[in-house]
Subunit: 348 residues, 2 copies
């Protein structure tokens, strides 16, 4: 089969690789119909993080079940399914409490189960890992494209909002105008926030934030304000109770805590990077700002978010500003690297 | 009047200084009868933090009201009172929601109101700042010594427990066997924790932790375990939901997050120090461990804790392992610096 293979900085190639097979009775084999390039795929692509070469890549699979192991009960061949960016058993202590990213049987994609940017993946613990799309929507392209972000960025933006404690009537700030930040805006609106201030560096992306429900936008840098945190503090009379940090970089965290009201909460979901030796804790300490969140247990939110996607009240698909075939995935990486695309949909 | 004056590293002298006076209608003048040396006083004493020289020092005053400004309603001359380590108005947004350390009219001790390690202090915003001890207990030395830690360390330990989310029946870990850690044990017991694991480096202090309600103690280092976090993870089957970080140093924070269960919370109250450029966020991120707390709004907890102190169910006074007169305060600093005393009571 064909699959994307990472060979080093700015070198992703589509090659013939061995097709994965059912190995355990709990496995399912999925023929991938939709997948995506993630902001976190760009780190090794840009040489900002280590990754084995060559190695399979991609972690946002959606497709049709081709074959299942004998213990699988929740899906069967022909079902349309998607999977979050980590494998989870659904049965351990952490899965039961909604922290699937700490699953004791968990795993990522890209090892012997295959990366999601390929024609097939093997889904271990299929009953825990896979989310089935009801037949009625299983071939509706609009529904599928709206559901695909539930594999990662929509669940991650939602986790930021949940971690920040956003509830009906709240004022909140979303730091970051990438795919996760935009999904954070959707999540905050969905949770009932009445004032949503989106902070970013790109006017065109902040336009999408407004379409997604931001009531105000703050452009930082060229053509905008010098200090977004200061500006947010000004317009909120001292900061917001709930701040979603959707970037993971030191500057974004600084903006987030600066935009937080004393006693407030920063919900963070971006993998920490570019922080040098660590996070400056003093601004959190002095104002008793709670730092909550972490790697998003996307599986925990999938059913609830899918219901809204299929019901037509939640649609993150505008984050896909470019679609490529699997053979053209290198162009997708390039477009995201050059910020020409927010997020790239890939169709194997 | 006589007062302690900081002159630089390991140089605290008692000198004749000007007695403070009522300056604003909301002020009270308090004759200090009891005060203490704080772990945080040791940082400038050890040259680990900057402080003006010469400058007045001390922030844990208890005494008798000598005189009040014309707007003061809650105390009158002759009343026994104490004050938390920061001044707070009691009326602003943050005081009303129990975050007195973010009071918009707040201040510390040691400026023109005088340090608490002296014969008199001027208490600004007396109605907000001062806590009155009912007359019935106002001259009972045992009650006063048990109440004195409410100026700082007992409220701080309580804040760690509250921030960590400790509730009835919980398992929690207290990292640190100094005065704040020991008070954290008392607070966790008071909140109903059923399993309290105290972690420290001093066998004698861990003995006090047991007296205070720790159900288990973990001695790290000489004569104890090499890695307290690993040991806690072992005996709890993967970590505790609630961890009180009562030190503020990098190593303690590392122990705290290592002892936390995925999805758990670290409540921290120690002023961050010795962390180099910052906190390593990865262990928090990967396990979705929340970091909550900060500088403790001790005033918010004073009434509730005082009720228990006076009712006889809460007694942190065993942390005072040495008492000195004001004239001998330099010996008190020395004893704490050399870890001969846990905390020193000072009687001006």
């Amino acid at each position: 089969m064909r699959a994307a293979v990472y060979h080093g900085e700015r070198d992703v190639r589509v090659e013939d690789v061995e097709r994965p097979e059912i190995e355990d009775p709990g496995d399912a084999l999925v023929r991938v119909t939709h997948t995506a390039v993630c902001g976190s795929d760009l780190w090794p692509y840009r040489g900002q993080s280590d990754r084995d070469t060559p190695s399979r890549i991609g972690h946002e699979p959606m497709g049709i079940v081709e074959e299942v192991g004998e213990d699988v009960r929740s899906v069967q061949p022909g079902d349309r399914v998607f999977a979050p960016f980590v494998v989870s058993c659904g049965e351990c202590e952490f899965c039961r409490r909604g922290l699937h990213t700490s699953c004791v049987n968990g795993d990522g994609w890209g090892g012997d189960n295959g990366g999601a940017q390929g024609e097939y993946v093997r889904a271990p613990h299929a009953d825990g890992t896979l989310v089935r799309i009801p037949d009625r929507y299983a071939d509706d392209e609009d529904s599928l494209q709206a559901a695909l972000p539930l594999t990662d960025v929509m669940g991650t933006g939602h986790h930021a909002a949940v971690s920040a404690g956003v509830a009906a009537g709240d004022t909140c700030v979303v730091v970051g105008d990438g795919a996760v930040g935009l999904c954070g805006v959707l999540a905050a609106r969905r949770l009932g926030a009445s004032r949503i201030i989106a902070v970013g560096h790109h006017a065109d992306r902040l336009d999408i934030a407004e379409e997604f429900g931001a009531t105000e936008t703050v452009l930082e840098g060229d053509g905008g304000v010098d200090d977004a945190a200061e500006h947010v503090a000004d317009i909120t009379g001292g900061g917001a109770e709930h701040v979603l940090e959707c970037v993971g970089a030191a500057g974004a965290m600084e903006t987030a805590v600066g935009a937080a009201r004393p006693g407030g909460t920063v919900g963070y979901v971006g993998v920490p990077h570019g922080m040098g030796d660590g996070l400056d804790l003093f601004p959190f300490f002095g104002d008793n700002v709670t730092l909550s969140g972490g790697i998003a247990p996307v599986r925990a939110y999938a059913d609830e978010l899918l219901a809204d996607v299929l019901g037509g009240t939640l649609d993150p698909s505008p984050i896909f500003t470019k679609t490529v075939s699997l053979d053209d995935i290198a162009d997708g990486y390039r477009a995201m690297d050059e910020r020409e695309a927010i997020k790239v949909l890939v169709k194997p």
